[in-house]
């Protein structure tokens, strides 16, 4: 589903944020990206949704080489992705309902289809009673659940999440993880950047550790006492 071939990214000359990354993530996989601050986790995800371009190398998403995607094809790529940001990036002037329906509207889906889907997705994240609230009237955890709903409402091929639980308390973190697991079970490939070792321990999946822009380790989950059944 996702492949990196000798990908390097330098924001400044001779200063690689990522160097020579080779990576393959199969369809339906759940992958954690971890590593110290500045290791390049966010950069790797940004390359996948074309917010940044690789300095060298090729990136494939769903069999398409996105490396040279122009501004007309990027929106189309993003419609197949679900993106969850640490800072939510919700539309503050729009209601919860409008936020979640936005990706569907952009795709030109039919109105009744949109409302059904949005309601269903909001129910999944437990916010169906907050339809008409504005994001800033919600708690941080609720806002993040709206963001997750917005990412999942399109049934994305790939879900990219950059520290989606970074600011949330453990209970909300578990809620979010359950949502991700659900989407993963329905076939969505997930790449999630996180610092949270405990979380990785609690829900063990494949873990890619970046260090100074390179892949330091790439481990499949240990099946031990903490392991959630795979």
């Amino acid at each position: 589903m996702v492949q990196f071939f000798n990908v390097s990214k330098a924001y400044q000359r001779d200063l690689n944020a990522l160097s020579d990354i080779n990576l393959k993530v199969a369809k339906g996989e759940f992958v954690y990206l971890t590593g110290p601050s500045g290791a390049g986790k966010s950069t790797l995800l940004k390359l996948l949704y074309c917010a940044e371009r690789p300095t060298r190398g090729q990136i494939l998403v769903n069999g398409r080489n996105i490396t040279r995607f122009g501004s007309s094809r990027i929106p189309l790529l993003r419609r197949n992705l679900g993106i969850v940001f640490q800072d939510f990036k919700l539309l503050t002037r729009r209601t919860v309902y409008e936020n979640v329906s936005f990706p569907l509207e952009v795709q030109g889906r039919k109105r009744f289809e949109i409302s059904k889907k949005v309601y269903q997705t909001l129910k999944n994240v437990g916010l169906e009673h907050r339809l008409n609230h504005y994001p800033l009237q919600l708690s941080g955890g609720e806002q993040q659940r709206v963001a997750v709903a917005r990412a999942l409402v399109v049934d994305p091929l790939v879900l990219l999440a950059d520290e989606p639980t970074g600011n949330l308390d453990p209970e909300v973190t578990l809620d979010i993880m359950e949502l991700f697991k659900g989407a993963n079970a329905r076939g969505t490939t997930i790449l999630m950047a996180t610092h949270d070792r405990g979380l990785i321990h609690q829900f063990p999946r494949r873990v890619i550790t970046l260090e100074a822009g390179q892949i330091a380790t790439d481990d499949l989950p240990l099946v031990d006492g903490f392991a959630d059944s795979m």
Binding site: A51, R53, S71, P75, T92, R93, V106, Q107
Partner: protein, 286 residues
């Protein structure tokens, strides 16, 4: 979507002022142009005749000159007619010519120009041609004034276009900046829309519409403003100025020009917002 009202007002205001100014100049130019046309109608070249030829020959001459494309009509004025006219023009002082014979005034051909050939160039061209003709003793025409009027019109057009162009440019910049300020405030929102797959047109459209609308409102305001100024001031002052010259009605902009003015406003708004949006909704930096 809601912009700060002060900003919107500034955008609409500058568009209105710029276009109203253009409208004033257009009104002035159009009316002075009307003057050229009406003066041109009276414009005649008078060719004095050395000797009055016999009737048949005279008719031939008249036909010959009338055949020139730039000539409207040719009228023969005999010595007697010229004398009679002269006496009439003198009015109360008519007794001055008492005792003078009709032979003091020469007979002449009055040559008026065809409607679509009223310009300094054609007049001088025609005069040159007639001058080469030995049959005519002397030629008289309104040399000079037409040239001056045309120069004045040109000045009016140039200064109007320059000032108007400058103001339109200023309006473009201001519209662009108001939209840009709104966009700065919405940057996160625009980015968020782009992140979930909004095409740039989908994201930009509301802003383009808003800019165009501001421009159209500016254009309408300009129209209203210039009509008001026309009614209250221009008609009086320009009217009395032009009245001396024999024009009794001053016209407002014709309806096509009015539509053009509004369309110009819309275009300024559209271009201004397009310009502002160029920098935004890029897919790069996230």
């Amino acid at each position: 979507m809601r912009q700060s009202p002060v900003l919107s007002l500034a955008a609409v205001g500058t568009v209105a002022v710029a276009l109203a100014l253009l409208a004033f100049f257009a009104i002035a130019v159009l009316n002075v142009q009307q003057l050229t046309a009406s003066w041109g109608e009276n414009l005649a070249i008078v060719a004095y005749l050395d000797e009055v030829p016999e009737e048949a020959k005279l008719k031939r001459w008249v036909k010959e000159i009338e055949a020139y494309p730039e000539v409207g009509s040719v009228t023969f004025v005999s010595r007697a007619q010229a004398f009679e006219r002269f006496r009439k023009r003198l009015g109360d002082d008519a007794d001055l010519v008492e005792g003078l014979g009709v032979e003091v005034l020469p007979a002449s051909l009055e040559i008026s120009l065809a409607e679509d050939h009223l310009s300094e160039v054609t007049v001088t061209g025609l005069v040159e041609r007639l001058r080469r003709d030995s049959r005519f003793d002397d030629l008289q025409y309104g040399q000079g004034w037409l040239e001056k009027l045309e120069a004045f019109l040109l000045l009016l057009r140039i200064s109007g276009s320059a000032l108007g162009g400058f103001l339109v440019f200023a309006a473009l910049v201001i519209v662009s900046n108001t939209i840009k300020l709104t966009l700065y405030a919405r940057q996160d929102e625009l980015e968020a829309m782009a992140m979930v797959g909004g095409t740039s047109l989908f994201i930009k459209l509301p802003y383009l519409i808003e800019g165009t609308l501001q421009g159209v409102i500016g254009g309408l305001t300009a129209l209203g403003l210039s009509f008001l100024v026309f009614e209250l001031i221009l008609q009086e002052s320009l009217g009395s100025l032009l009245l001396i010259t024999g024009i009794d009605t001053i016209h407002f902009l014709p309806s096509t020009w009015q539509l053009f003015l509004i369309a110009c406003g819309g275009l300024i708004g559209l271009l201004g917002s397009l310009f502002a949006l160029r920098k935004f909704v890029r897919y790069g930096s996230a």
